[in-house]
């Protein structure tokens, strides 16, 4: 189920297409297309288990689009830049390994930035449905709530040690999700920290 999104502050002609697939079977093929530089596969293929929320993914897309418009991409194109923008450090290869599609990826987030009118909702939907073998899921927070591997995400952003530091017993309990409210709050806080780390990446 492809969705089209217009991100605030981006020019009116820029449209972002997003789609989430679970139980993907041909991740290796998709990765191969990226490595081969196949122009038909101009997508950001992201390991959805590394995505905490829609905001997390869209913030990376926003930075990538903005950097693309200002012609200061650090990687090959705007799509690889989205993957790179998820990273808290400047190592592009590491960013692809951590956040990009791998041979074993089962949950996949696809993002595509369209600036020309010949890329339409229909063309993106048709192309993705023929080439991605997986079950379509809506691009929303409840999907990411199921796919997100919070421990790996924490590790990737080096946020594992921060929570339990000052009150170990108390936080450990909360991490296990004592009440729903507290759990939501912690995810929110993790998201806040991740967005901050993504935003200050690249500045020395």
């Amino acid at each position: 189920m492809v969705q089209s999104i217009h991100l605030a502050h981006t020019p009116a002609n820029v449209t972002l297409y997003v789609a989430v697939y679970r139980e993907v079977e041909n991740a290796a093929f998709l990765k191969q297309q990226l490595l081969a530089g196949n122009a038909e596969f101009e997508y950001a293929f992201i390991d959805a288990s590394m995505i905490l929320s829609t905001k997390h993914a869209l913030a990376a897309a926003f930075r990538a689009i903005n950097d693309s418009i200002n012609e200061r991409l650090k990687s090959r194109n705007v799509h690889s830049e989205i993957v790179f923008c998820l990273s808290p450090n400047n190592n592009i290869g590491e960013a692809f390994r951590r956040y990009g599609v791998s041979e074993t990826t089962k949950d996949l987030l696809v993002m595509k930035v369209a600036t020309t009118p010949d890329v339409t909702f229909e063309s993106v939907s048709a192309h993705l449905s023929t080439h991605v073998q997986g079950k379509e899921y809506p691009f929303d927070d409840s999907t990411f709530h199921e796919t997100a591997d919070v421990d790996r995400i924490r590790k990737a952003y080096k946020l594992s040690s921060l929570a339990p530091k000052s009150a170990p017993a108390k936080s450990a309990k909360v991490l296990n999700g004592v009440t729903n409210g507290e759990k939501v709050d912690l995810t929110k806080n993790l998201e806040v920290q991740i967005l901050g780390l993504m935003a200050i990446r690249g500045a020395t």
Binding site: A8, H9, A59, R63, N70, A167, G196, A199
Partner: protein
Amino acid sequence: MTSPTNTPPREKEHFLPYPFTETQPPPELITQGAEALLYRTHFLTPSTPAALKARPSKPYRHPTLDARLTKQRVLAEARVLVKLSALASDPANEVKVPAVLSLEWDASRKVKGLTGEQRGARGTPGGGAWLLMEWIDGKSVKDLLREWDLWLKEPGSTVPADEVEAQEEAVKKLLRRIGRAVGAMHSKGAVVHGDLTSSNIMLRPPTNTSVQNGSAAMTDNENAKTERKLAVPPNLDGEIVLIDFGLATQSVQDEDRAVDLYVLERAFGSTHPRQEAWFDAEVLQSQDGYRGSFKGSNIVLKRLEDVRMRGRKKSMIG
């Protein structure tokens, strides 16, 4: 938008960096300081309000120096905010700050194919910098205390003595919470704010009422200006959120911490004469205030006495 050449130089449009020049609806200017302008806008979707702090480049500085200073300052602020937001993962956390959403430290780096107008209203080569932050609903402690003053001296209605006492206790409780928040920032955050004033301390209402209060906050400045009298005292519940870390530094020095308290003390005394007498006892000395907030607080408070004697600058250089 008129091009800058049509208007006299003094009436140039306010600096607004690209891409926010494209934003619909356009960002709304909230306030302007010496270094930055604050706009209200949104992030990703129009339903997520955000604060945009835009730092224009200073045309009187050498471009290289200007780019460096602007970058250093916007980054210092962002790093402090990210550092303090990490504390919020602790359930016992008492210091809340706005989340960093997005950041640009040099809007003109490697810009090709853009007209001067798109780069910013000034069209200068130095593009300036911007920081997009979470929007904090609610009112500043300054506005709340001013409202409280108005409520107290409302003519025509005599407030019963026990009601006054209850409201005074509510203010004192707020002051103690401010002391704790500053203490937590100093100790757990290892951050010195640099510009603590009652207008840089916000009170965010509980989430269920945030919608009403958030919209009310927009018209609040007008209310204060027209000296509208209040029939009911302002609600002093809510989360304390510290804002404006533009002058903040990462420091654990007792001297820096003491100066931070001194700045707050002086600013508070001149802004809120009616509550000034409570400041020392509630914000600083109370066990529920700064003194009780971390282990080394008594050393800082001891140092504050020295700072009061001599003033903010220890070394008289510069």
